[in-house]
């Protein structure tokens, strides 16, 4: 199993900001649920959708890391 340095750098840099974005989305969703616990059924699917969008960017850089 050969070690690829460029692949590691690609996923390290490309995964930082999406991780931050997913965390912020989760934090805001938690805040919203805390203010209004009855709206949980509406907030949760929207939060999952937004997280999938944000995570897609990290997936793009993961594909490039696999190629290198």
């Amino acid at each position: 199993m050969e070690i690829s340095l460029s692949g590691g750098i690609i996923i390290a840099i490309g995964g930082t900001l999406p991780a931050l974005a997913v965390g912020l989305i989760g934090a805001k969703a938690m805040e919203a649920i805390g203010r209004n616990p009855d709206a949980q059924g509406k907030i949760l699917p929207a939060m999952l959708l937004a997280m999938a969008f944000a995570e897609a960017i990290a997936i793009y850089s993961l594909i490039l890391a696999f190629i290198k």
């Binding site: 699917p45 999952l48 959708l49 999938a52 995570e55 897609a56 997936i59 793009y60 993961l62 594909i63 696999f66 190629i67």
Partner: protein, 245 residues
């Protein structure tokens, strides 16, 4: 050892290569069509277990579609449900024991070629699904709002709207790329993780990763179909009405 990006060819029919992901797609089709025929013979007024679950699933998703798209729900719902069921069963079929492990001995250096391989871990499959989704969105939009409204979204004489129109054209292409790569990347990365963990430890340690793969398969199927539904809803409302909504 790791699986490559491209699926491996098992046999050739004439000059058409049958890859292991095609075999898995046929298996998923057989499961879905078999389930439909089985259910069709046994529809009763007081539903049994299988019929109950199917009705609950379809009812829940139809309510979600009606909440988001309102009056167009009848046209959008078949696409939403078909994409969801196909991608869900295709993702989960990659976790059946034996999938990716039973195979033929390969020619290049004795590397194992599996007979079945997870269908959505093939970029061809996800690209085809994304193209179908975007194409169906545009055809439905044409049929719903007519040619003039459809073209006025993309081309216009007002310079600001012209710029927005060009951005809309670019965003359509980005939709295809992002839909296909999101599904492909998640499932392919999951496959690599399972292969790596399986080659290190055989027994207790792969369990959390398999559970993660079950969740990821469900979430990705949901995301793909909900995005399709949302894009269809957006493109089926006329342009000037959308600006006021």
């Amino acid at each position: 050892m790791s699986a490559g990006f491209a699926p491996e060819t098992i046999i050739n029919i004439g000059s058409f290569p049958i890859t292991n992901t095609i075999l898995n797609t046929l298996f998923v089709d057989a499961v879905i069509i078999g389930g439909v025929f089985y259910l069709n013979k046994r529809i009763k007024k007081i539903p049994g277990f299988f019929q109950n679950i199917t009705e609950m699933l379809i009812q829940t998703f139809y309510d979600i579609t009606e909440t988001i798209s309102g009056s167009n729900a009848k046209k959008i719902f078949p696409f939403f449900m078909s994409f969801f069921i196909f991608i869900l069963i295709a993702n989960w079929s990659g976790l059946i024991p034996g999938n990716g492990a039973i195979g033929l001995k390969g020619k290049e250096g004795g590397h194992l070629i599996p007979i079945f391989r997870n269908a959505t871990s093939d970029l061809n499959v996800t690209l085809a699904l994304a193209l179908i989704s975007v194409f169906a969105t545009h055809v439905l939009s044409l049929k719903a709002i007519g040619l003039k409204d459809y073209l006025s979204r993309f081309f216009s004489f007002n310079p600001i709207n012209l710029f927005v129109g060009i951005l809309e054209i670019i965003s359509e292409i980005t939709k295809i790329i992002s839909l296909s790569f999101r599904l492909f990347g998640n499932i392919f990365a999951g496959e690599i993780v399972l292969i790596t963990i399986g080659s290190l430890f055989a027994f207790i340690f792969p369990l959390p990763f398999i559970a993660l793969e079950i969740i990821v398969g469900l979430v990705q199927a949901l995301v793909f179909s909900m995005l399709t539904m949302v894009f269809m809803t957006i493109l089926m409302t006329p342009h000037h009405q959308e600006a006021h909504a």
